[in-house]
Amino acid sequence: MSGPGHATYLGMPAFPKAADTSTRDTQLRANLRHATHTIRAKRATAVAELDDWGKLRAAGAAIKDRTLRHLDHYLEQLERSVTAAGGQVHWAADADEANRIVTELVRATGEREVVKVKSMATQEIGLNHALAAAGITAYETDLAELIVQLGDDLPSHILVPAIHRNRAEIRDIFAAKMARWGRPAPDNLTDAPADLAEAARLHLREKFLNAKVGVSGANFMVAETGTLVVVESEGNGRMCLTLPETLISVVGIEKVVPTFQDLEVFLQLLPRSSTAERMNPYTSTWTGTTDDDGPRTFHLVLLDNGRTDTLADTVGRQALRCIRCSACLNVCPVYERAGGHAYGSAYPGPIGAILTPQLRGTQSELDASLPYASSLCGACYEVCPVAIDIPEVLVHLRERVVEGGPVSVRGTRTVIKPAKGHAAERAAMRAARWALDHPGVLRTGQRLASRTRRFHPRRLPGPGRAWSDTRELPTVPAESFRDWWQRTRATNDRSTP
């Protein structure tokens, strides 16, 4: 069957430009405001139920740090465990390789259709697009992913990819598009969430029952036992993980945790941070294959795609602790107003602003703009269940964008040049440093500025124009502090014995 065109993030404008458009979309802003405010209060309540939240959070961060500092050890252990349990492990250095591996694995089954559980990793590598190019149709089965897929749209939130759509828009998409992909939406479909969920149930049921190949990601992989964990709500995950004959899981290498016991921390942190529930409706764990229960063949594709470059940055590597809960998106004032699409990647919001420029590098205009997509208010750090200091990494990445410096690119240490577009900023900073080092120059400059203050423009000319688009220029006082001090205090001070 012919699916709709495939939207991608390629060629998207830099964050300020995209946000300039999206912030004018009042419907989008109303949808986002409603959704993020709903979940914010619920999360706070769910977290407050646990007196030891701070200790769980510290343990979660520490377990992830232990794993990351010894990732080679844990990946080898994981590979052995999964293989011993009957799974087959594949390694993918980048997105293209991962897509190639999955395409070949699907082809080998002889199938032309796969059912998919929502997965950030496959979104990141553009798997659906690659499969379509090979004549394989991937059906997204998560309700929000289905809305995005039917609407030929892009995800805008980690947990709820269709958060930018309200119920009326979802109804219209279902009514218009379901028939092209399979069972049409029921006649007289209303926009009641329960009716919309029912429509999705009916639409997807035949796909689940007939599916021979399932594709998933995973929330956690246990090195010690080879166990994979998928946390979900709707049961579409269980369908994809247990009904098909072949299961292919594409998972970032940073998703490994050392022991089965470590799950006791993350299975408390994740649901409360994510959907603000004590526990999500369904969690599935599987270790390789089981005779006569679930898929007979299990493939695990371990994905690098910039993760090792992120790992090489001792400040930035904490971003790899992320368990994709999306709490940081829900509290972010910038995300709430700009929406997820402005971030131009599968990872929007504060975590995206530090993850995307590390996974992809800061060479494109969009990726270089992401570390600036923040007011540095710190709300993201406060809610992060694994204590990623997002503001710290943002500032670190801003420095990299402006100053350039040593980074790892596809595993090779290299020195990048300062990004374009920051020349004026650097020149201004150099001039300021020189003036501050030369008191005579500073004094002369300040006096000149004071005397000409009536002629100062409201907006800066030339390269400074963009800066003053959204800011008032500070008013220069009639007299500098130094001159005022000299005039009012200096004489007195000297006359005092």
């Binding site: 309200n166 799950l263 369904y282 790992l311 590597r317």
Partner: protein, 215 residues
């Protein structure tokens, strides 16, 4: 160079700052978090389990061993169930009060077959009070994972107090990672429409949990 070797070499290069002699266990992980949140008697733990299950829209029933078969029969009749999937190790007397047609959980039962079945009755491996969760681990009284997924009505029996723990850490201690597990907290739900929770998507839309006290 294979991709495996390439990725492993990149990982090692990226970790050049980690001292070669450092072992994973030298990276401190303080497990000072609580093993359970509050001290409860077994009865209080069972009450909390019932409360949290109901909070996420599971239908909770409480009974004792002798009355269990009659309760299960009543629940199946109330649903107008015509067929029920039965895991191989389900205690025989649980279904002794009903004559609804039984479909044994066998390897050749297809997803389409299961879609035509009304209900499923299972035991469980463990239940978690603090989160309102039942865990299935595909033991003989629970059957293959798919039998509790495709039918629209699931009756799950928990033995109280033997199978009830307070917390997530206590549950993991009892579970075998080699067995495929399904953790269930209420019927299937979604928060995908305006981040508001709606029950009933792909899994069984009705989850009835029976807390049975041993006589």
């Amino acid at each position: 160079m294979s991709s495996r070797d390439l990725v492993m070499a990149r990982v090692r290069r990226a970790l050049a700052d980690v001292p070669r002699a450092e072992t994973p266990s030298e990276v401190a992980v303080e497990r000072t978090y609580l093993r359970r949140h509050g001290d409860r008697t077994p009865a209080e733990t069972a009450d909390l389990l019932a409360e949290n299950l109901a909070d996420y829209r599971a239908v909770v029933h409480r009974t004792h061993t002798a009355a269990l078969p009659a309760l299960i029969a009543r629940l199946l009749t109330a649903r107008n169930a015509t067929t029920v999937v039965v895991p191989p190790g389900l205690p025989a007397d649980w279904l002794s009060a009903t004559d609804i047609r039984r479909i044994p959980d066998t390897a050749d039962l297809t997803p389409h077959d299961l879609d035509a079945v009304s209900s499923v009755v299972t035991g469980c491996a463990v239940a978690i009070a603090e989160t309102g969760t039942v865990v299935l681990d595909a033991s003989p009284d629970q059957g293959r994972r798919r039998i509790t997924l495709v039918p629209d009505h699931h009756i799950c029996v928990i033995r109280v107090p033997a199978q009830v723990v307070d917390s997530v850490p206590e549950a993991l201690e009892r579970l075998d990672p080699a067995r495929p597990q399904t953790w269930i907290s209420g019927p299937s739900a979604t928060s995908d429409i305006e981040l508001d929770r709606v029950e009933g998507v792909h899994g069984p839309r009705t989850l009835e949990v029976v807390l049975v006290t041993e006589d």
